[in-house]
């Protein structure tokens, strides 16, 4: 593997996370709390990208399942990120299915229409990139790209792990993440500045930029 600086297994807290998960599996509740604090910010960021303001509720449901099934989990800190992201994703998709049955006034499409105007300069945008603005941007992407970006950049999964969460091939997820990041960087008004998410993939498959969302 090259020196592309890709997000990959080896997240800053993965050693600590793996140790905490192992102790939690032996019954240590303070270790479970440590794991929660390490994982929750990324998980919540991912869920906010999927379900917006309902993210906290969906995360709560996910954590109930994580707590219940922790004894079944096998893996290290990086694996735990992937396992918990998968559980959170399933809860989010359940939530979105229920929402479709129960019409709501605010929809994802509405959020897209209300996307804030681009910042005047790329630098300014990066310096002041607020959580809300960043979320609006990500949610304006096709779902496949948004999820790939969120799993790679926010949850901190490597390509294969993100692909496993999404049930897709690693190459497809890498491409989706790259296109999503490139589109976001352009939205912010600069050169894409996205050099570390897989230019190889771009060369291989950048025949068009039409990314039909496959989730209807």
């Amino acid at each position: 593997m090259g020196q592309t600086g890709e997000p990959r297994r080896g997240h800053a807290h993965d050693g600590e996370l793996g140790a905490a998960v192992a102790r939690a599996q032996e019954g240590d509740d303070s270790a479970f709390a440590v794991a929660y604090r390490i994982v929750q910010p990324g998980l919540l960021g991912y869920l906010r990208g999927l379900v917006g303001d309902e993210a906290e509720d969906v995360a709560s449901d996910a954590w109930l399942e994580i707590a219940r099934d922790l004894g079944r989990f096998r893996g290290d800190g990086a694996g735990f990120r992937g396992w918990t992201a998968t559980i959170a994703r399933h809860r989010a998709l359940d939530h979105l299915r229920r929402q479709r049955v129960r019409p709501r006034p605010a929809t994802l499409e509405q959020d897209v229409l209300e996307l804030p105007a681009p910042h005047s300069t790329h630098d300014q945008a990066l310096e002041s990139l607020s959580t809300e603005y960043a979320l609006d941007l990500v949610r304006s992407l096709p779902r496949e790209q948004a999820e790939a970006v969120l799993l790679r950049v926010v949850v901190g999964l490597d390509g294969p792990a993100a692909a496993r969460v999404l049930g897709k091939r690693p190459g497809a997820v890498r491409t989706a993440a790259y296109r999503g990041l490139r589109r976001l960087a352009r939205e912010l008004g600069g050169d894409d500045g996205v050099t570390d998410a897989g230019p190889r993939t771009l060369e291989e498959s950048d025949d068009s930029d039409t990314d039909g969302p496959e989730h209807g």
Partner: protein, 76 residues
């Protein structure tokens, strides 16, 4: 260029912005309470299903759309 000045790429900045949500203490307490309840329950399952095995090299078969949850094999 911002990337150089910040010493980070765009993905890192975006990730930091999106992780910038406040973690709710009450939510943490609920999660830990659920953990204790599960731990103290005699019915807690410990046998991994395929989707629970995230050890390196344990990647599941994939490449055909969505992975589906499999029922736990041989569970009574």
């Amino acid at each position: 260029m911002a990337e150089q000045r910040n010493g980070k790429g765009f993905p890192a900045l975006l990730g930091a912005a999106l992780r910038g949500v406040v973690v709710d203490d009450e939510a943490e307490r609920r999660a830990v309470a659920a953990f204790r309840e599960a731990r103290d329950s005699e019915a807690q399952a410990t046998s991994p299903r395929r989707q629970d095995d995230w050890r390196p090299g344990a990647a599941p078969r994939q490449g055909r759309g969505e992975l589906r949850d499999q029922p736990p094999p041989g569970r009574h």
